[in-house]
């Protein structure tokens, strides 16, 4: 498993040497500052709207970073043929998958630290207070959620050859889960027979990313921090799904031809 860390370090290096992260961060900063400089209708809840907007931008930027960074990892290794000298060393295919996952997840984590630092500065400058525990929980659960996303996209990169199609399909699935995932059980109750069972099965099978996204509202409305037991449960849930998706990825990649 020691080979995972060098592989992960290359992924992190790739993140800070490419322009994607900087572009998304600057865009988030500019849009947030632009909206922060305008006082709409003298509304005293403007800070709340600003926090909502900033967090929404952070979620969008982090999803774009996670999906685009992960989607190109394995296809790029195969296309440039660097996968051959890498696997010709004492590195197993499972280690390659684990290394890529760790790298992408850590890269997302580093990006989140920068984004949430900016969010903290904006929030503190407007509200003159900082809810440390809540912010930590929000960032942590956001990161756990990105772990599932990274594992999902890594699986997609084994199934779909082109990174663009993988990224598009994964983004649609992720956004679909975030918007509709929580309502599937309600839909299933209204359906009868096999269709209802099928929708129920999907409800229990998909990773509920919307739970993590809901933490955003808690931060925006300054609600008290989540019970630490629930926080730990959500962490274990996310790690379980990430591990489950990585196992499937490894099973598929084990017998996959290395050439495109």
């Amino acid at each position: 498993m020691n080979s995972c860390f060098p592989i992960a370090s290359v992924v992190i290096k790739e993140l800070y040497r490419r322009k994607d992260f900087y572009v998304l961060f600057i865009l988030t900063v500019l849009i947030t500052l632009l909206f922060g400089s305008v006082n709409f209708f003298n509304d005293d809840r403007i800070a709340r709207y600003l926090k909502d907007l900033c967090l929404l931008l952070i979620w969008i930027a982090s999803l774009v970073i996670a999906v685009t960074t992960t989607a190109r990892q394995i296809p790029a290794e195969r296309e440039s043929r660097t996968i051959f000298p890498l696997l010709a060393k004492p590195v197993g295919r499972g280690e390659l998958i684990a290394g890529k996952f760790l790298g992408c997840w850590a890269a997302c984590g580093l990006s989140l630290i920068v984004f949430y630092f900016f969010f903290g500065v904006i929030s503190a400058s407007r509200e003159h207070t900082l809810h440390w525990a809540m912010y930590f929980q929000a960032m942590w659960l956001h990161w756990i959620c990105l772990g599932i996303v990274v594992a999902m996209v890594l699986l997609g990169s084994i199934v779909f050859t082109a990174p663009s199609s993988n990224a598009t399909i994964c983004l649609i699935v992720i956004i679909g889960i975030m918007f509709a995932g929580g309502h599937l059980n309600g839909i299933a109750i209204q359906m009868r027979g096999a269709r209802g069972t099928f929708v129920y099965a999907i409800y229990y099978l998909i990773p509920h990313l919307e739970w993590y996204n809901d933490v955003r509202d808690l931060v925006v409305h300054d609600w008290p921090s989540i019970d630490w037991l629930i926080w730990a449960g959500a962490t274990v849930y996310g790690l379980f799904y990430s591990a489950f998706l990585l196992c499937i990825t490894w099973l598929l990649f084990r017998r996959k031809s290395l050439t495109l």
Binding site: R81, P85, A88
Partner: protein, 253 residues
């Protein structure tokens, strides 16, 4: 003499995509028996599609054999540990363009768990060998094709391997680049390394190889010392090769 590579009755079949899944298979390598001894430079020859790269892929664990066995240093090639003492240069690889050569070599050294101080020494020595010392801090994306190929050689040598597997190391290089790669192979031979390489440059093979094997349509057609083959067929290696693969040249009219 100690054998470094040993292949016994190797057979590799791939599903035939033209016929559709499950409808037939294409035999890439058929009943191959081969032995490469320690310290020799072994040329693995054959026309395109003869099964050279497939055999190398089996040795490197990329492809599983349908039947037969292959071992490196007595360890079955399916075990990742078999690759601990080998260096591999694939044909035409475009290394991570966001890294410079030094970072790339440090990355591969970390994979082999070479201690930091030792890896720095190794990086210096391989960069000197492939003559890339002055460009070590430059991003790989700015390198020419010849330089990229030398980066490939450097990464193959980072763990000071006892066996080098080179897949067409001079492919796409200009005469100067080819000469440099040839000189490196000669120097490795002098250091006592075993080199197993495939090439279409038969003049170069004749210069550097101790023994060669010629593969055609997946089957081993001939194997032996270069000098013995040249003497047996009373012509140079290129003509030996052409005779063995059944090429009939028409005299110009």
């Amino acid at each position: 003499m100690n054998s470094v590579v040993e292949i016994q009755d190797l057979r590799v079949e791939f599903p035939n995509r033209d016929l559709g899944r499950g409808r037939g298979s294409k035999v890439a390598v058929d009943g191959l028996n081969l032995r490469v001894n320690a310290g020799e430079v072994f040329g693995f020859l054959g026309p395109n599609g003869a099964g050279k790269t497939t055999t190398m892929n089996v040795l490197l664990g990329f492809v599983n054999a349908t039947s037969g066995s292959a071992s490196i240093f007595g360890v079955n090639v399916r075990q990742p540990i078999a690759r601990k003492r080998i260096g591999y240069l694939p044909e035409l690889t475009y290394y991570y363009k966001f890294l410079n050569t030094e970072e790339l070599l440090r990355f591969y050294a970390r994979i082999f768990r070479i201690p930091r101080h030792e890896s720095e020494q190794r990086i210096d020595s391989v960069l000197k060998l492939v003559e890339l010392e002055s460009a070590r801090k430059r991003l790989i994306k700015t390198y020419s094709k010849g330089m990229q190929q030398r980066v490939g050689l450097a990464q193959a040598l980072i763990n000071n391997p006892d066996l080098l597997i080179l897949d067409e190391p001079t492919s796409g290089l200009d005469p100067l680049g080819r000469m440099k790669v040839r000189q490196i192979i000669q120097r490795l031979k002098e250091e006592g390394k075993t080199v197993f390489f495939s090439s279409h440059e038969l003049g170069e093979v004749e210069t550097v190889c101790d023994r060669v094997a010629i593969l055609h349509e997946g089957k081993l057609r001939v194997e032996g010392p270069v000098a013995a083959l040249v003497q047996q067929y009373q012509c140079d290696l290129e003509h030996v090769f052409l005779k063995i693969v059944g090429y009939q040249s028409n005299p110009p009219t």
